[in-house]
Amino acid sequence: MSKYSVLKGPEAFLPPAAACEGVVLPDPGQGLIQGDIVQETLAMEEAARKFLSAKNPTLFPGPLVLWNWNETAARKAAAIKRLYDVLKSHNSNALHIPMPDYRPKYPKIDPAIEINPNHPNLTIWYNKIDVCMFVGVHCHMANLSLKIIRGGTDCYTIAMCAQAGHEDAMITFRDATPEKIDILTNTVERLKASGDY
């Protein structure tokens, strides 16, 4: 079987799940870049580069961080906001668009202000998003949504997962904590300060 790379789409109307193509999830301390297991620091750098070179970098916070349901969620929200502020200071087109819940909302959804996992392509097309990061989205909905995005759009996807990661994203991190999100923010700031972007 030839090696499968998780590349940005549009791949197909029904793209295969990366797991079915032999892509395996990273171990703690590791991440995935386009299906290859790498050290997490390397994935951080790549994600930061993608954010800094994007036209419309966007964060998609999901219910696990939008709602204040425990102390960690509140700390993650603050960390995500810091990342957003850094991206916004670099690129005024940066966005953060919420995914408040998973009810199918087509065709009522307003793609300018929210994203729905059942038709994420609408929000990505409407806002011309070329790089996005999922954070705080329940895994089963993130898997669904990331596949739809890869299938129908040319958006580069990053997943900051609190569990074991998402092989259907182009870059994935696992075991997300507020501190890990801050490391990504610091990486973006460091690369930005290098003057290459």
Partner: protein, 296 residues
């Protein structure tokens, strides 16, 4: 879960769509005297339902949600049917069970919640159609009653399988001809309220939803009895206007026509002695509280 957890992180408050902010600010979670009068005034826990225009089931659904004593600590268990088209829009925890399994799922859920949260009150409410409750799920319905599982079962009785085109159901009245039952129903409507009484339910009501005050009383009392005493059952007539050839404005009249004396949905209530004694201890407190609220 506590209503304190229904809060938006302040970092994202400004980007959350309006409907979610309204739910937090104007929802009736934690409001002690919530009831049907909140419908149309406060933020409802169901809006923009996906049922047909004028569907009596949508009215019933709104009343039920408006009358839950503690929606923030309630989990509803639904089944396949028109109700399952609405549950995705409901701002209360809910589970969609396999068709007919709703009372089995609720039994396990209630036991698990009692084990996981021994010091908290967690209400489990089953809401299913007549096909799921009486035909395909009758085994699970009865077993939960026999075993005295402490949750409320609400049956939206539209007297046929509406969602699949009008097949005959056990709760259909004898002789009724439907699109997919052209020869007419061959046997009498299953007397589920009677069966509920003899199967161990402590509070049983059969009614239409034409009178919201009555619906509120029944829902509240059924859930309160289920918390403390044992299983309760409410059968609500929610006619399918499409399948019985009515217009969208005729649903309410259909219910009124069906609840008169000696009609099949004449109001019936059964309260066991144990449940009555318990309700007597609860209701004076409620009256006092309402009086205190009015005098403020």
């Amino acid at each position: 879960m506590s209503k304190e957890k229904i809060k938006i992180n302040q970092e994202f408050y400004d980007i959350m769509p309006l409907e979610y902010r309204e739910l937090v600010e104007e929802g009736t979670y934690g409001k002690e005297n919530r009831g049907w009068k909140d419908v149309g005034e406060s933020k409802e826990l169901i809006e923009e339902h996906s049922l047909c225009a004028g569907c009596p089931e949508s009215i019933a659904f709104r009343y039920v949600l408006a009358c839950l004593p503690a929606p923030e600590d309630t989990i509803m268990v639904g089944s396949t049917g028109c109700t399952s088209l609405v549950f995705p829009h409901v701002a209360v925890h809910n589970i969609h069970s396999l068709f007919g399994n709703q009372n089995a799922v609720a039994s396990g859920l209630k036991r698990a919640l009692s084990f996981r949260f021994p010091d908290k009150i967690k209400d489990v409410v089953v809401l299913a159609g007549d096909g799921a409750t009486v035909d395909i799920g009758l085994d699970m319905t009865l077993q939960s009653w026999f075993r005295q599982e402490k949750f409320t079962t609400i049956c939206f009785d539209n007297e046929l399988y509406a969602n699949t085109g009008g097949q005959s159901s056990g709760l259909m009245q004898k002789g009724f001809v439907a699109k997919m039952a052209p020869a007419g129903k061959k046997f009498d409507k299953v007397p589920l309220p009677e069966i509920a009484k003899s199967s161990g339910c402590h509070y049983v009501v059969k009614m239409t939803v034409s009178k919201p005050n009555r619906v509120e009383k029944a829902i509240r009392e059924a859930i309160l009895v289920a918390r403390e005493i044992g299983p309760t059952y409410i059968q609500l007539y929610t006619p399918c206007i499409l399948e019985i050839g009515k217009q969208m404005m005729e649903g309410l009249q259909e219910m009124r026509d069906s609840e008169g004396p000696n009609k099949r949905f004449e109001f019936e209530e059964y309260v066991s002695d144990e449940a009555r004694a318990y309700l007597d201890t609860v209701n004076p407190k409620k009256k006092k509280r309402k009086k205190a609220i009015v005098t403020k």
